[in-house]
Each structure stands twice: as C-alpha cells, then as structure tokens.
C-alpha cells in the first residue's frame, strides 16, 4: 500500500560549517537509481515508495541513510570523517581501532593510493609511509619494487617483509616465468595496506617478522549494499626518459682516429646509429577492470572483479599480459554469529621478457655500424670472423639480441582462503576463527634462440623449456575473547595455532638445439619444501581508554632447523598512554589526541634460502658434471657443507613513538624512534679451511644494528564544500651498522660483496664490522688542477709508497640514511589534483656502465670496436679503473613520482551512470647530481649485490596515462 511515486528534494550541507555541498551522490538504496546535488547543494529525485531509503554519500564524509516516509523535503547534514582515530586497522590475526594501537603501524587506504599505470601492488604505496622504502627493480613491466621496512635486519638472509593477503602469508620467493612474485595481484582489487613496523606489532608473526609485515586487504562487498558496477579503463604511454650518455657516431670516429691502431681504424663504418634509440620504444599499455559489488538478496555480500592488463615495455619486445579475476563472499549466518569470508583470486600472466643484454650491448656496440646487414647473421649487422662466424667476445647487435630471443613465460596462480569466525554461544565475547588458505602457482616457459642469430650460431640454436609449480597451504585456528569490565578495563585476547607448508617443484628439461642435439642435459629435479608450525597469543588490555597494554608471544617451529633448535619463542610487550584522555588535556580542543607508545619485541628470521642447512646430505651431479673412471662417466655425489647447529636469526626491537592529532584531525601524525639489533646473524662467512665441506658457510655469526627515526605528518590545509586540500609528508632516518661478523678477529677487512661487470669475479663493496653493510670499497682518486682524474694515481692511504689492497677505503653506502616522501591532494568541486614526491639523501651509486666501458681500452680489441660513454673524454683513461672512487657518485635525488589530475563528471546519461576521468604522469622528473641512468638501483634478487651498482639498469620510464571510470 506504500507504493506511491513521489518527488523528494532538499539541500545537503556540511554538518560543521553549514555550507552547501555539491556533487553529493544521492541513491535509492538497493537500486541503481540516483542523482547528485547541484552547485547549490540541492537535489531532487523521484521515488517509487515511501519505504525507499535514500543514501547520501560523498568523499570525505560519512554516508547517511534516510527513509523517505511521507516527507517531500529532506535536508541532510553530512559529517566530515577526517577523524581517523576510529579507523580500523588490520593487525595479525584480527583488527584493532587505530586509537587502540600500541605498536607502530602505517596504513594506506584506497583513496590515497598512487594513481596511473600501477602494475604491482607495492607501487600503490611508494613514498607514502615513513620507514617504508620501495625501490623500483627497473622499468620492465611487472618488475615492481623492492620493499624495505626500516632497513634490512639481515646480511644474507632475506630482507623482504612478510606479505599477508587477506590473512594468508604468501610465498614471496621468485616465480619462474614472472618478473616479480607480487605481480600476480591486481592492484585494483586492493582496499588497504597495513604495514606493521615495530616488533610489538610484528612479533605475532614470529620467525618471519624481522623485516616487518605488509598486510594487504582486498575489497569486499557489504551487507545491504545495492549492486554497483564499476568499470575502469586506463591507457598509458611509457617513454624512456634517460639513457646512457654515449659517444655519437661522429665523436666515436674522431676518438678512434686519435686513439686506435691503423688496423682498428679500418674497422670503422660510415653509419650513424643511436643504438639506444633503436632498442627503446614508446610503449602502450591498456589496463581494464570491471567489478561488481553488492549483496545478493541483501544477505550475501559479494564482490567479483575481472581485470585485463596488456603492458608493453620500453625495451622492444618486452610485454606483460595479465588476466585476473577475484571473488569475495562475506555473508553472515545465525543472527550474525557466524561470519564467513571467502576469497578466491586467480591470475594468468603471459610475459615476453625482452633480452636485457641489449641494454649493455647498446652502450657498447659500434655506432658507425648500421642496424641491418643483408649478408649478416639473421639479417643484422654483427661482428664476424673472416669465415662469417660470429666473434664470440664482441658485443652483439642490440636489436638482434631483442628480436632473436623469444623468452616467454606463462604463470597461473591462485590464492584463496575461507575464513570462518564464529561467535560462540555460551561464553559472551568468545569467538572461534578458522582460516583455511592456499596459494598455488604453476608456471612454464620457453626460451628460443634461432641458429640464424649470432647468439645461437655456434650451438645451432637453443631451445630451453622450464616449468615450476608451487603449492602452499595454510591452516590457522584461533580463539578471540573480548570483554569489557568497565572500570576495571577491557580485555581482548587471542590464542591460536597455525600451520603452513611451502612446496616448490622444479622439474628439469634438457636444452637442445634446432637439430635436437642436447646442449645441456636436464639437471636434477629439486623440490624444496619447508613447513612452519606455530602457536601464538595476544592480550590487549585497555584501562579507561587511557592506558593500553599489549603482550604477544609466538612459538614457531620450522622444518629448516635441527630438531634441537627447531622451536623459537618470540615475545613482545607494548604499552601506550593516551595522554589526551587525561583530565588535564581532555578539554583541550587544540590537541585532540596524544598517545605515547613504548614497545619491545623479539622477532626471528628463518628465510635463509637453504631448506636443510643442518643436515649432512649428498647432492648428485647433473650429466654435464660427471667424471670418467675407466670407460664410463659417473654422476658424482657431493657432500654438502652443513651447520648442524644453525638456528634463527633473532632481532630485538625497541620502539618509542608518539601519535598526535590536533584540531580534530586537521593535523595528525606520528613520530617514532627505533633500535633493532639482530643477533645470531645468518651470514655466509668463510669457515676455517678444512673444517667443513665447503669454504663458505651460512651460519649464525655476528650482529647488526639498525636505528632510526620516522616522522609522519598530515595536514588538512583547507576543507570546505568546494575545496579540500590535504598534504602529507614523511621522513625516515635509518642507520645500519655491522657490529660483529665472526667469532674471532673483528678488525678484519670483511667480506667482499657487490659483484660488478668488467672482468670476472670483481666486487666493489664490503661488509666490515663497524660500518654499514655494503660499504663501497674503493681507491681514492687523485685529480689534476682542472679537476680531471689522473689515471692510476690514487691516494696512498698508509703511505708505504705502494698502491695495493691496503689503500682501499670505505667510501659511502648504497642505502640512503635519509629518505622522505611528500604528498599533496587537492579537490575543487569535481576536479582533483594530486602529486607525490619522494627522495633519498646521502646514498651513493657506483657507475659501472662508465667504469667498465669508458676507457680507450675499449678500442684495443683486434677484431671489433666498442663504443664508450662520453665520460671517457673527461677522464682520458686508457684502461678500466674499476676500483676508482671517481665512479662513485652522490646519488641523492628527489623524484616526482606521480602527478594526477581528475574530474568527476557526476552522473551522466540520465542519472544512472557516474563518470570520472583522470590523467596521470608518473616519474615526472628526477633531480639528482648522479650522471647515470638512475640514482636508485635496487639490490636485485641476490642480496649480495647490495644495490647501488648501476650496471645496464633498465630505465624506469615516464608514463603518461589517461583513464575513465564508470560506475552504475
């Protein structure tokens, strides 16, 4: 009887200022019908029934629902939601209100994510959180970034944080056929990042928590929500914006004339080829996403999404194609007593990996040669011997390298979990939670090099196939008990059990040539596996919202260690005092929140690469590493080095912090000081010769310390109906020191690390006690009056008249001690403008492109010529001077990460479809004194490289993108 069409109208205002609000969405709940308020804040909408409910929503304000009834005028006041203290933060095995936190946790929600072409999840939060440094791994699609939280706490074990997606800790190890293990998660499906930084927050993850924990929560539907469809499409253009400064063809001809012998001069050609121009391209990518969110019959909230990304790299032939799908269901049953959260994500990536050797080849290949040569190998101009065979030491045609290597990988990965949270009927406040999860990956790929190419010529081509599968399973079960004892405080306790098994299967295949001859026999199949079993508990105690205490403990067992060392106990304690709740501040309207936090915790590190480091075991050789005894080749059995006493690394962290908020959230932030000390450091060190079955062993030796300060501040500059402007800044100081590296002498030189190119086995860094890890280890260059380096003249540090290893100095580090981020986000009516800047101060980079190429020695090869960086004209070096600190440069920088302009058209096409458009530029500019391609070089896959070594780095492109977002 209430079905009665009518028109309702009114004005929407800001509850605090009373100003009218334009662009507010007004929707009839459960339908797709709606409108938006006009510039005067007025709206008008036709409804079908007096039982209809209007939903008023607007960015930055709490949504409001009002049943129409028989009213024809409904004026609404919306409350701004700047107050961030009520936000809920995901912590391990549960959630907490931000105001109740005792640990150091950084959160980034969807609205604050970086815009533009974001292929990997971590790129969403680059530069957003104090203490979290994300360094790009390069410009290849999907290569993503390296995440470091408060510096690394280890030398040789992993320094990657633990990543937990919807409660499932994922296997973050390399996946064959994918550029980065995180590239399987579509950033569009992510709702929030919560980053646990100090041990009082992370210790609940015990032996995997030393490098911090990144908790990723994906987007969900909500009960009672109307069905909404969101479709977005983004098209991007990537362009190389920095290349190596090389001699031009004309400069090269001049240099050859001046420096090379007559027979070498005869090798010069008459073409003018800019090889970097040849290998790089303007690359287009498309990223399309559709999601449907809602609640089936109001009780089965769901979200389904599908995404398709096709991204070309700026290096020709580089491509990533990703199809992803996700489903989330989170219904409740039995009067809300049973909450179910079900997630399934599936992704298929197809990558073609460009041959990155082309980057180095483009820096070295003779610019006086043409790209193509009809008589050349595969149609490309190559350096050949008189008989037409390729010269094995000469650089290869850069474009030939790209076009003649087909390296394709395909990865299928699915991650999912079913979480049941049941409010137990007999004890008030007691819940049981069961979480069953899996993470399965299957990948395969082929690398084909044709026999017509210079690279494949001698072997008759090469066909290499690989496969890999990973199967990880998780079972968590815990109880949670929450009870408020009023004046005696409230308690929230969790206790549980966790099991996780990680299995990787690496089958092997032979590498053959085009005629089917075996070039490399199939290796030995490996199946690395490890298992973690854990018991954990946490108690939060809150007294009068003033005094907060948290204690956690985790007992972790890992299959990686000998049964006697297998179990580790990782406790933490934290307290917080909400000073602003005390009477003397409670009435203070300026300082609306002030909290002091104090935390202590012990965490571990079991991700040491090896799976059975404690066990005396024998490894079989492959067929290419056999030995003949008599007439037969025997596969050999090798005893492996082992340390039967190997155990966890233990990191003890102390953290003291302040959370502050002024004027009800207009200004807020955090300040933290931390001190971390890792003992029983797992490092690969030389063992006394003769005592083990190897020369270097992974063992618990030494200590490393990290201390730092983090500061975060957010300020709402202006907020009114038409204009909102937020700025945020974060700053981190982090300093690491190796305090011990062996059981004996401490004044030793240290362990040489940081492999560089230019000869084999050369290094440029050292781990030494008393210094930061990866100190650059160099000779101090002597300069002439004009400031140019004098070849072979170094400072004789010890004054013994000789220049030898004793004159090497530790001169700077690849890791910046200072890094910062700055964000600004402005909205004016329908327009929005945001940008983010970030930078490092005090880091150094070693320009290996210059050191290994920029000397006239490059012209001394009898049968071919190498191009050189322009730098050679300054140094006039005859030979490569790899250890000169001339090549060590200050790599401090400021980068504009992101600049984004958006417009919200509101409802278009009648009043059912919302449209937003945005244009973004990523990697807008970099301000730096560094002369190479990028001042920021990530440590790569192998920790030993330490980062900061610029060796044919894949440039991170500038990306221009334009996107449309439809919702209805």
């Amino acid at each position: 009887g209430n079905a009665q069409a009518q028109t309702v109208g009114g004005t929407v205002r800001d509850a605090e200022t009373g100003e009218t609000l334009p662009f507010v969405n007004v929707l009839i709940k459960g339908t797709a019908k709606g409108t938006t308020t006009g510039m005067d804040g007025n709206y008008s909408i036709d409804i079908q029934s007096s039982e209809d409910i209007l939903v008023f929503s607007f960015i930055g304000y709490d949504a409001k629902e009002i049943q129409v009834g028989n009213k024809s005028t409904i004026d609404v006041e919306l409350q701004g939601n700047t107050k961030q203290l009520d936000e809920v933060v995901v912590v391990g095995y549960g959630t907490q209100k931000k105001s109740d936190l005792t640990g150091s946790v950084g959160s980034v929600v969807r609205d604050d994510f970086n815009a533009g072409q974001v292929t990997n999840p971590e790129e969403l939060i680059t530069g957003k959180v104090a203490g979290v440094q994300i360094t790009p791994n390069g410009g290849s699609p999907g290569s993503g970034g390296k995440i470091r939280i408060r510096g690394g706490s280890s030398l040789n074990a992993s320094n990657d944080p633990l990543i937990v997606i919807d409660g499932v800790p994922i296997d973050n190890s390399t996946v064959s056929g994918a550029a980065n293990p995180l590239s399987f998660l579509n950033p569009n499906d992510i709702a929030t990042f919560d980053i646990l930084k100090d041990a009082s927050a992370t210790a609940i993850y015990g032996s995997r928590a030393s490098n911090g924990v990144v908790l990723i929560t994906t987007r969900k539907g909500k009960a009672g929500q109307q069905t909404r469809v969101n479709a977005s499409s983004l098209v991007s253009l990537s362009r190389v914006n920095n290349t190596v400064d090389l001699l031009s063809a004309d400069q090269f001809r001049t240099v050859v004339e001046e420096q090379a012998s007559p027979s070498q001069q005869a090798l010069v050609g008459d073409a003018n080829t800019d090889w970097q121009d040849v290998i790089y391209q303007d690359a287009i990518s498309y990223d399309n996403n559709v999601s449907v969110t809602g609640a089936l019959k109001e009780v089965l909230p769901f979200r389904v999404s599908v995404g398709y990304l096709n991204q070309d790299g700026i290096l020709r032939t580089d491509n990533l194609e990703r199809t992803s799908a996700s489903l989330n269901l989170n219904p409740s049953f039995f009067d809300d007593r049973l909450h179910v959260n079900f997630n399934v994500k599936g992704v298929l990536t197809k990558s073609r990996f460009a041959n990155q050797d082309a980057i180095g080849a483009a820096a070295a290949f003779d610019p006086t040669k043409p790209v193509y040569d009809t008589d050349g190998l595969g149609g490309f101009c190559e350096w050949t011997n008189d008989n037409g065979t390729p010269q094995t030491l000469a650089p290869r045609n850069p474009l030939g390298l790209l076009m003649q290597k087909n390296d394709q990988g395909e990865v299928k990965r699915s991650i999912g979990n079913l979480q049941l949270n049941y409010d137990l009927p007999f004890v008030d406040g007691l819940k049981a939670n069961l979480n069953l999860g899996y993470d399965i990956t299957s990948s395969e790929g082929d690398i084909v090099i044709p026999s017509s190419s210079a690279a494949g010529f001698n072997e008759g081509g090469s066909i290499d196939h690989y496969e890999q599968s990973k199967e990880n399973f998780l079972v968590d079960f815990y109880f949670n008990y929450a009870r408020d004892f009023k004046s005696a405080g409230s308690i929230n306790a969790t206790a549980g059990y966790s099991f996780q098994d990680f299995l990787t299967i690496n089958p092997t295949f032979e590498r053959v040539n085009e005629e089917g001859e075996v070039l490399e026999p199939a290796g030995i199949e490996t199946r690395p596996q490890y298992r973690l079993i854990s018991y954990f508990g946490r108690v939060n105690y809150n007294l009068n919202d003033k005094y907060l205490f948290t204690a956690t403990v985790r007992a972790d067992g890992s299959s990686r260690f000998n049964p006697d060392n297998r179990w580790g106990i990782f406790p933490s304690l934290a307290a917080a005092w909400r000073v602003s709740e005390e009477n003397f501040l409670k009435a203070n309207e300026t300082l609306s929140d002030l909290k002091l936090r104090l935390g202590y915790g012990v965490t571990g590190q079991q991700d040491i690469g090896s799976y059975f480091p404690y066990l005396p075991r024998y490894v079989q050789s492959d067929d290419a590493s056999r030995y003949i005894l008599g007439d037969s080749y025997y596969t050999t059995l090798r005893p492996e080095g082992y340390d039967s006493d190997i155990k966890w690394e233990e990191t003890t962290t102390y953290n003291i912090g302040i959370d502050y908020e002024f004027w009800n959230g207009k200004l807020y932030g955090t300040l933290d000081y931390y001190f971390k000390k890792t003992d029983d450091l797992l490092a690969e060190i030389p063992v006394p010769a003769g005592t083990n079955l190897t020369n270097r062993l992974f063992t618990n030796v030494g200590s490393i310390e990290n201390k730092g300060v983090e500061f975060g501040i957010n300020y709402n500059v202006v907020k009114n109906a038409n204009l909102n402007w937020d700025i945020g800044a974060n700053y981190t100081y982090n300093e690491s020191t190796i305090t011990s590296l062996s059981n004996v002498e401490e004044d030793a030189e240290g362990i040489l690390v940081g492999g560089i190119s230019g000869g084999t086995g050369n290094t440029i860094q050292v781990h030494t006690v008393g210094f930061q890890p990866n100190a650059f280890y160099v000779y101090e260059q002597v300069y002439d009056n004009e400031g140019n380096p004098i070849e072979d003249l170094y400072v004789d540090q010890n004054g013994d008249g000789l220049i030898n290893a004793e004159d090497l100095i530790r001169n700077g580090y690849p890791n910046a001690k200072h890094f910062f981020g700055f964000n600004s986000s402005t909205r004016y009516k329908g327009w929005s403008l945001a940008f983010s800047l970030r930078g490092n101060i005090g880091n150094k980079a070693y320009n290996n492109v210059h050191s290994a190429n920029a000397a006239y020695q490059s012209l001394r090869f009898p049968d071919y010529l190498n191009n050189m960086p322009v730098d050679v004209l300054r140094t006039n070096f005859q030979n490569y001077n790899l250890r000169s600190d001339y090549y060590l440069e200050d790599a401090s920088f400021i980068r504009m990460q992101n600049l984004s302009l958006g417009y919200d058209f509101g409802k278009i096409f009648g009043s059912s479809v919302g449209l937003k458009a945005n244009a973004t530029v990523q990697n807008v500019f970099v301000i730096t004194d560094y002369n190479g391609v990028s001042p920021e070089i990530s440590p790569g896959v192998d920790n030993n490289t330490g980062g900061g070594i610029d060796n044919n780095f894949y440039p991170v492109p500038r990306i221009y993108s334009f996107g449309l977002n439809f919702s209805f």
């Binding site: 079993i533 005894l629 025997y634 050999t636 030189e749």
Partner: protein, 508 residues
C-alpha cells in the same frame, strides 16, 4: 599437521649414502671430479666453493695460474681483480686467485677426509660391507688418501705452513692447527708410502684413476724438491721411484703435439691425467680455460676446435727465445702464433703483445672437432703427470748427485725427448751439454704450460731472485727481482680471520 621432519628430495643424507655400496664409486668420482669441474652442474651453476668466480676457482685452472702466470712461461691480459698482480709477482694476502687455489686444496682434503672417515673398516663392518665390496672400498679409500696427499703436496709446495686436518677431525666449528713444511713433508711421504701396497699396479687401474705409478711420481716430486721443502737432499729417493715409473711400460707419445689434443686419453705417455669432456665433464676451468684463453688475435678458431677465443694467455719473450724457431721447426715444441703479435709485451692487457702459444686444442689427431655441440667446452685431458716429466726429473736428480741412476741413462732419456721434438737426432745433445741449466731450459721447452714452472724456478733459485728476470717480473717491463718470501704464496686473509691459530707466511 604437527610434523616438522621433512626429508630432502633428490638428495640423500650421509647415512643413506654409505648404507649402499653402490654409491661409493659415485663419491669417489666426486673426489676425482673435484680436480676438474666446478660443481654439481656443468659447466656452471652449483659450485663447490663460493665467493670466487666459479670457473676461475676450479682446481686445475687455479693451480695452473699460480704455477704459470708469475713465470716467464705465461702472461694474461684480463683485469679481473688480483689477476694482474699474478703476472707481476705483486700479489697480497687478499688475492682471490691465491684464495681460489687454497680453498680448492682444502675442499679436496675435506672431501677426502669425509670419505676416508665414512669408509673406515669399523664403519664398513657395521654396515655389512664385506668380501669383494670391502676390498673394493679399501682400494677406493687408498685412492682417496692419494688424492688427499696430492692436494697436501700442492699445499706444501705453494703455501708451506697450512692448517692440518685429517679424517680424525670431524665436520664442524673448530680451529685446525697450523702445520709446517717439515711436518707436512713427513705426512705426505708417510701417507704415500703407506698406501702404495694397496694401490693397483701401474697402468692396471681404470683410466683417470690413480695407480702405484701416480704415487711414485708424487713421491719423486716430493723428493726432488726436498731441499726446498725441508732442506734435505733426497735425490736418491727420487731416482728410486722414478726408476719404478719409467720401468712400468709407459712410452713417449710419438708426436709431441698429440699429447694436448681432444683424444689425448689415447696416449701411452700419460701417468695421471685430469679428465675433461665437452659433454660429460664440463666447466669453465681446466683445459676449457687453457684452450679458449690462449686463442685471440688472428688465430684460427677452427684449428683449435672452439667457436672463439677468450684473448687472454700469451707467453713472454724469454721463453720464445729458448727455442730455435717459432713455427715448430726444427723443434716441434716451439710453436707460436706470431702473425700480428709482438714478441715484446709492452701492454699486458693487449693480446697482441707477446707471442701466443699453440699447444692445447679441442680437435683430435684426425682433425675432428671435440664432442660438445658447438659450445666452447673441450675434450682435452690435462696431463698432470706424464713420462717426459719423469725423464727430466730423473736426469735432474742424477745431475744433482742422486744415486741409483747414471748420467748416460739421463742423456739417453733427454735425447729421446729431443728426437721426438726434432723428428730425428739433429737436436740431440752431448754429455758435455747436459747440465742443470740445460735441464731447467729443457723443462720449459718440453713442459711449458703444464703447471710446473713456478716449482722448477723455485728449485733452481730463480723464481724471485735477480739471477733470472723476465718481462714484467716485479712489475716493470724490463723485469726485476722480487722479495724472497714470494717463493711461497700467502695464506688467504679470509682464513687468517676465520682461524685465529694461523700465522701468516713470513713477509706477507
């Protein structure tokens, strides 16, 4: 869900390995293979020792570099850190190539210790290994002790005062004691004498396995150098064992150049080779290094059976001048590539400076390319001990006053070598020409690039001294003497840090 006891896949625990006699030969193969390859994946990828370039830290490649690069016989162009100072005798204790040899030596020793420990009679009895299997295992054990003695001999020769570990010491964290040359000499001697009865008779064992002749040869080397090692004259002992070697039925390979080809395993001259194969035994060390690194400039890759050269190794003019010609005539051993090469080495880093040596090749005597399909892995075996060396050692021991041999016999042996080299008697020498200086030169002519030169020069007092200089000795083009202490290499700095019981060799 409470089981943390996982088992490795495709790997076996030490207990499982030794339960099955069928595995023993595979472990023995590793002891021999440790001289050739870099690890369990060929040619590279799963190294035995780490922290150093995988190919450069293989046994024969490291051994060869320390024995040849500081001498007149060889020089290398590359600027890998530490390599240029080998050319110029200016190495220090952090030299990576010195460390590579040292750690390879101790890797072999540790591996042998493990095998010897696990195949003690007690343990074999407990595992029920009896009868023929028991006898075979005892033979393997004797060969493992030979290989350990070989590596300790290299330690004695190159490092002198090294940590000392045997099968009595387990695997774990401890600091081995340092031994000295006298004790180590006695140990190597006693080990070899002790295992001799258990080894297979000369030329009766399987190819590439050690027999009595290999042990005799090693004993003879120990005795020939005893004055250097322990200040004692043991030339008579050297002759005793050289007579045994020479009397065992080996014969000189008729064509000198065939000794260094892809099918040199066919030669009757080899006493103990380190075997390589382009398909089955691959690495970036050993003869793969020796063939590839020696090719560059205008040399014909086809002739060497490889796709391209690494443009590294040449020889110095002093060695070229030991031969009557440079094109293999009249002395077949004097074969150099001189086209577009300079005799003098003005720039060490340039392959064109210095004549290139034509010796090791990856082609068979029929001119067939080696077995690997197209890549640069070679089939050539490395002749660690061969009969010609025994002849030269015999002659030297006789000239140095050892008894049990005679000068006439010595002259006959030397002229056998010269007849092979010259193709006829035209190069033969007279008794009057046979003296120690001639022996040193003849050893260079016959054995150059086979890893003997440093030891020879030390024995003759000419390695460091001003008595004999060559281009770039001591770091100058003309050459100059270096400090006496460089007759021994330093212990690597890394081991001095790891083991506080070690003292550095004098001078370093």
């Amino acid at each position: 869900c409470n089981d943390l006891d996982l088992e490795p896949y495709n790997e076996v625990t030490s207990i499982q390995v030794y339960e099955d006699f069928g595995n023993y030969k595979n472990v023995l193969a590793k002891l021999y293979g440790g001289l050739a390859v870099s690890g369990q994946q060929g040619p590279a990828g799963d190294p035995d020792i780490s922290g150093l370039d995988e190919g450069a830290s293989t046994y024969i490649r490291a051994y060869w570099k320390l024995q040849e690069l500081p001498t007149d016989e060889a020089i290398i162009a590359w600027n890998d850190e530490g390599l240029p100072t080998l050319n110029t005798m200016q190495w220090s204790s952090d030299n990576g190539f010195v460390a590579a040899m040292y750690y390879r030596i101790f890797y072999q020793i540790s591996l042998a210790n493990e095998f010897i420990r696990e195949t003690s009679d007690d343990k074999l009895a407990a595992r029920g290994i009896v009868d023929a299997d028991l006898e075979t295992t005892r033979l393997y054990r004797a060969e493992a002790r030979f290989l350990r003695a070989l590596s300790y001999y290299h330690a004695l020769d190159m490092f002198g005062n090294v940590p000392f570990v045997t099968e009595e010491d387990g695997v774990g964290a401890y600091f081995p004691e340092q031994t000295n040359r006298a004790d180590l000499f006695a140990y190597v001697e006693s080990e070899l004498l002790d295992i001799l009865p258990n080894l297979v008779d000369a030329r009766q064992n399987e190819y590439a396995r050690a027999d009595k002749a290999a042990a005799w040869m090693l004993l003879a080397k120990l005795y020939l150098n005893a004055e250097v090692y322990i200040g004692e004259d043991r030339y008579t002992d050297a002759i005793t064992y050289l007579n045994q070697v020479i009397g065992s039925g080996y014969s000189l390979e008729p064509n000198y150049n065939h000794l260094f080809l892809a099918d040199n395993h066919l030669s009757e001259e080899l006493i103990f080779p380190v075997a390589f194969d382009g398909v089955n035994t691959t690495s970036f060390g050993g003869t793969t290094f020796l063939v590839n690194a020696a090719v560059g400039g205008t040399m014909d890759r086809e002739e060497f059976g490889i796709p391209g050269g690494w443009q590294g190794l040449r020889t110095r003019p002093e060695v070229v001048q030991l031969y009557p010609g440079t094109d293999g005539s009249p002395d077949a051993r004097g074969l150099f590539h001189t086209e577009e090469q300079n005799l003098d080495i003005e720039d060490v880093a340039i392959f064109q400076d210095g004549y290139a040596v034509i010796k090791y090749k990856n082609v068979t005597r029929e001119g067939q390319r080696g077995s690997s399909p197209g890549n640069d892995q070679v089939d050539t075996d490395f002749p660690l001990f061969r009969l010609a060396d025994a002849y030269l050692m015999y002659a030297e021991a006789v000239l140095r006053g050892g008894s049990g041999g005679g000068e006439a016999q010595a002259l006959a042996y030397i002229n056998e070598l010269r007849e092979r080299a010259y193709g006829d008697a035209s190069g033969n020498i007279t008794a009057g020409q046979l003296n120690l200086d001639f022996i040193l030169d003849e050893r260079a002519r016959e054995l150059k690039w086979e890893g003997h030169r440093r030891t020879d020069l030390v024995r003759f007092g000419r390695f460091t001294s001003a008595d004999y200089i060559w281009q770039w000795k001591g770091g100058t083009f003309e050459g100059n003497a270096v400090e006496d202490y460089r007759d021994l290499y330093p212990l690597p700095a890394a081991d001095l840090t790891a083991n506080p019981r070690l003292e550095q060799n004098e001078g370093y």
